[in-house]
């Protein structure tokens, strides 16, 4: 515990960390601030997709003598289907379904623990909060790996047909009884109706449900792809900037080479050549081609910082270089990365939508770009407008956040 008299470790009451200053500034840009809430809302929406739309009932009661034997009695198929890899064949869906239960759980634990994290002492509280966040994320990663690795599969049951038997079968479905993959050739290219809010596509799949689940794809691609390239860019940029000399020359050349790659062409070529492209391929491709901007930013910051006193002090203390780079210099060099990464998410989502629009994405994933293409092919205005507007909305939300963040981190713009 720090004593009140020890002035070197106690912080004055109005002390603000850099992050707090930026956050305070950011809140003053109302539009950007609300956009952040908008993205948060989109995340929640992406998580609760199956609550809103799925063709599996929450609760099912089948009396004896009706339907297959295993289904008889009371069951809760919805909860099982969430992790069923026959039903959701994409890891993205399984992940969000997992979050649907995990995030509320983490929040509950957090509210339970908050009183015990000594909120009186600001720095200790922060430290413990960071540990909590770290543990929660690690548990999420491990939990998801185990869940996905378990390859839980179940035979497919048509619950809707079962309830239509009307022999005392009771079921409680989500409000929209559709899945984004369910092909229904009886209802092809329908217009909007109460049953299908945005109509159906060429294969009779409900467009609204597809757009809803498309949120998951877009958000995942944006964040994972940018996560990959921000990591690569930060590592290469920091090495180039910190060591200089030959390392710098080699990495600069690498950056120049990557920058000269006609990226959209390259993406299209690679994506066109992958035999069975999946969402993860697209993420990897975007991730491995997009890192040059961030590498250059970080390199510039490191060049500026590496001769400053605190770095020399750390060197004089005999810390090893990796610790100086990532523990001391990186926190000071990282703020332009946040801005670039936010714009980058918007860019990655746009690239994915473009690839899907051109028809090189994974074929059965409900990507918005793909919905737009099929709407264009069937001259279906509802599909075009809905998917296009969804892309526009997400891209502008991230761009607005980036805009606000850029102004908030700019000392000249401080309000």
């Amino acid at each position: 515990m720090t004593s009140q008299n020890d002035s070197t470790t106690t912080e004055p009451d109005d002390y603000q960390t850099y992050g707090e200053i930026v956050w305070g500034q950011f809140k003053k840009y109302r539009v950007s601030y609300y956009s952040l809430w908008g993205v948060f809302a989109l995340f929640v929406l992406a998580m609760v997709c199956p609550v809103l739309a799925m063709n599996v009932p929450f609760y099912l009661y089948v009396p004896e003598g009706v339907g297959p034997e295993i289904l008889q009695g009371t069951s809760y198929p919805w909860f099982v289907a969430l992790f069923d890899q026959n039903f959701f064949n994409s890891g993205v869906d399984i992940f969000f379904n997992f979050l649907l239960f995990y995030v509320p759980f983490v929040f509950l634990v957090w509210f339970g623990l908050r009183g015990k994290l000594s909120p009186g002492d600001k720095s200790l509280y922060k430290k413990r909060r960071n540990i909590f966040i770290g543990v929660a994320m690690a548990v999420a990663a491990i939990g998801f790996m185990m869940l996905y690795g378990a390859e839980f599969r179940q035979p497919y049951v048509d619950y809707q047909a079962l309830t239509e038997l009307d022999d005392g079968v009771r079921a409680l479905f989500p409000p929209l009884e559709h899945s984004y993959r369910n092909v229904n050739l009886m209802a092809v290219n329908e217009g909007p109706s109460w049953e299908h809010w945005l109509g159906t596509d060429r294969e009779g799949r409900d467009v609204f449900t597809r757009i809803l689940y498309g949120t998951r794809i877009s958000l995942t691609i944006g964040i994972v792809a940018v996560g990959i390239y921000a990591t690569i860019g930060m590592i290469l940029g920091s090495l180039a900037g910190f060591f200089g000399g030959r390392t710098d020359a080699v990495i600069l050349r690498l950056i120049e080479i990557m920058m000269c790659f006609p990226v959209i062409f390259l993406l299209l070529t690679i994506a066109g050549f992958i035999e069975e492209p999946s969402v993860f391929h697209i993420m990897l491709i975007i991730g491995f081609t997009g890192w040059t901007g961030i590498a250059r930013l970080v390199r510039g910051e490191f060049l500026r910082l590496r001769n400053q006193d605190f770095v020399q002090a750390a060197t004089a203390l005999g810390l090893d270089r990796l610790r100086i780079i990532f523990g001391h210099v990186m926190p000071n060099a990282i703020q332009p990365v946040y801005v670039a990464a936010t714009f980058g998410i918007a860019g990655a989502i746009l690239i994915e939508a473009t690839l899907a629009f051109l028809g090189v994405g994974p074929p059965d994933v409900p990507s918005w770009g793909q919905i737009l293409t099929s709407g264009r092919n069937t001259q279906d205005m509802t599909m075009i407008l809905a998917s296009g507007f969804a892309i526009f909305l997400v891209i502008s939300l991230f761009n607005l956040i980036g805009e606000g963040l850029r102004d908030a981190t700019d000392p000249k713009m401080r309000k």
């Binding site: 920058m259 390259l266 070529t269 035999e275 205005m381």
Partner: protein, 559 residues
């Protein structure tokens, strides 16, 4: 300055080589094979003629060579024998195994029953070397000359072994000879002799040149005569061992002794082969702009001085025309679109930027900023589809054509009519290409001017009593526009790549659409060509933007 430019241009060369190498490797490692596309019916080449055609195709596009480095001169007899054994193991009967015999007998009985039920027998398929037919069963006593069931190679393994052997070509001739002489199994010796006749074949020189010089033509005639002779030196599969030995002793060994120097490589040869007898080296050999060879004679090639010595991207595997010609044909469309869009974007965004910087933080400024920002976030393919639906398809308007660059009816009209038709066609694409860069550019213009407008010399100008328009236009704008001017160079690659989606939607035959189509046809040479052109434009663009910094802003020097 001149030194700097020269240094930069020299540095561009290795960058370009590395980029072309990476693209080349990516393309060549990618699954999917243009020669598979060439055999349209999807069947494997079975007859000897079909195999011959396949090999010629492979040779023509250098697909039989290793991608980057060639180590085939180091192949040993074991490597060759491994491939040979795989193929021979397939041709051998399967070792007898009681269960298997029973199983096969049952199947035969069933087949006979079926045959009696359905007397109209299916026509016999052409039996190729890789047909998955029921293997014959060896005599249980003859253990030595059979393949155990579990070791019987799969079709894919045999195909790859055959492919590998013929790709190795001339490099493995000494090894094959040695196998044919000394191997202890008769059928392997037999196979090696037969394989020799295809592996000794020499490729014809300058195949793609339709009108070769006389000395090459003579040489080619000689090569094909020899190839024909060598092809005849085969021993039919049902002949016995003596015929094999006889063929070897009478024909192959004398021939080999005679041509021995062709198969012995000095260290210099090896280095040359290691780096140069590869797909990439062959590609670069064609690409090299300093070889100054005239453009291939094509029926509709553009015979202008400009194309002399232009790099040769090879032939397209789809239409067998030189890729360079197609690109030169398609480039004008993309360039028209791209440059017009950039020009318009500058024309519109600079005044907007100046205006909104001048009205900084007023409602007017904010409204314009928000509108531009929304345009910036609007994906261009969405807008393009909407514009087509609203203004071209006829729901509700059909003011504009739905795609294309020039109406067919206007093709033979006077130039003004043609221009009007073109303008009519590219109006919507240009709108789609322009609006996205508007927001970014005008923002640059705005911040550029804002940086300058607070400077001391502007205050001085005002204090001197200059009119406001004079202050802004003459003193502020000139300096404030430096950042946006230097952006122009970096927009050069956008001319090609930015318009891909728009070309696709509006069906404009530019090189973006060409690339898109080539990808789905696995047309490697075309993809390489377009990617390399675009790379060059990016490199030049970056250089131009760096130079323009120094030209526009005298404070920056590179010395």
């Amino acid at each position: 300055m001149i030194n700097y430019i020269i240094k930069r241009i020299l540095l561009m060369v290795p960058t370009f080589v590395v980029i072309s190498m990476i693209i080349f490797v990516i393309l060549n490692l990618a699954p999917g094979d243009p020669s598979a596309q060439a055999a349209a019916d999807g069947t494997e080449a079975v007859s000897q003629d079909a195999q011959e055609a396949y090999r010629i195709f492979q040779e023509q596009f250098n697909l039989d060579k290793p991608i980057l480095l060639n180590t085939r001169f180091r192949l040993t007899e074991e490597d060759v024998e491994e491939q040979v054994r795989t193929i021979v193991a397939f041709q051998r009967p399967v070792c007898a195994d009681d269960e298997l015999i029973e199983q096969i007998e049952e199947e035969q009985e069933r087949a006979e029953e079926e045959a009696t039920l359905a007397p109209a027998a299916a026509p016999e398929d052409e039996a190729g070397p890789v047909d998955e037919e029921m293997p014959e069963i060896a005599d249980p006593a003859d253990d030595d000359n059979c393949t155990p069931v579990e070791e019987r190679p799969t079709t894919a393994e045999i195909l790859s072994a055959q492919e590998t052997l013929s790709d190795w070509g001339n490099y493995v001739v000494p090894e094959l000879i040695s196998i044919a002489q000394h191997h202890d199994q008769a059928d392997i010796r037999h196979f090696a002799v037969n394989q020799l006749s295809s592996n000794t074949r020499r490729p014809i020189l300058a195949r793609s040149d339709p009108d070769p010089p006389p000395e090459i033509r003579d040489k080619n005639r000689e090569i094909s005569r020899e190839n024909r002779v060598l092809r005849r030196w085969q021993v039919p599969i049902d002949e016995d061992e003596d015929a094999v030995v006889e063929m070897l002793e009478d024909n192959w060994i004398p021939w080999f002794e005679e041509n021995r120097d062709r198969f012995e490589y000095s260290t210099g040869d090896k280095v040359g082969i290691f780096f140069l007898d590869t797909r990439f080296a062959k590609y670069w050999d064609n690409l090299n702009p300093f070889s100054l060879r005239p453009l291939r004679d094509d029926e509709d090639s553009l015979q202008s001085p400009l194309t002399i010595g232009a790099p040769d991207f090879g032939l397209s595997t789809v239409d067998r025309r030189p890729v360079m010609n197609t690109i030169l044909e398609k480039l004008p469309y993309s360039l028209t679109l791209g440059f017009l869009a950039i020009f318009l974007a500058y024309i519109i965004s600079v005044p907007i930027g100046i205006w909104s910087a001048y009205n900084q933080n007023t409602i007017k400024d904010q409204v314009v900023t928000v509108i531009l920002f929304m345009l910036y976030s609007l994906p261009s393919f969405f807008t393009a589809v909407l514009l087509i639906e609203f203004l071209a398809v006829g729901r509700p308007f059909d003011f504009f054509p739905t795609g294309g660059f020039l109406a067919d009816s206007a093709r033979d009209m006077p130039i003004l009519t043609q221009l009007r038709s073109v303008a009519w066609h590219i109006f919507l694409p240009i709108v789609c290409l322009t609006y996205g860069s508007l927001a970014a550019l005008s923002r640059y213009a705005r911040t550029g001017l804002l940086d300058v407008i607070r400077a001391d010399y502007i205050r001085t100008a005002r204090a001197k009593g200059l009119s406001e328009s004079m202050v802004i236009m003459k003193h502020a704008v000139r300096n404030g526009m430096i950042p946006i001017l230097t952006l122009m160079g970096t927009m050069l690659p956008f001319v090609v790549s930015g318009s891909l989606v728009i070309e696709y939607i509006f069906n404009i035959p530019g090189i973006g659409l060409y690339l898109y189509e080539s990808i789905f046809m696995y047309d490697y040479n075309a993809i390489m060509g377009v990617l390399l052109i675009s790379t060059v434009m990016t490199l030049v663009g970056i250089l131009l933007s760096d130079i323009s910094y120094a030209i526009v802003d005298p404070r920056i020097t590179f010395d």
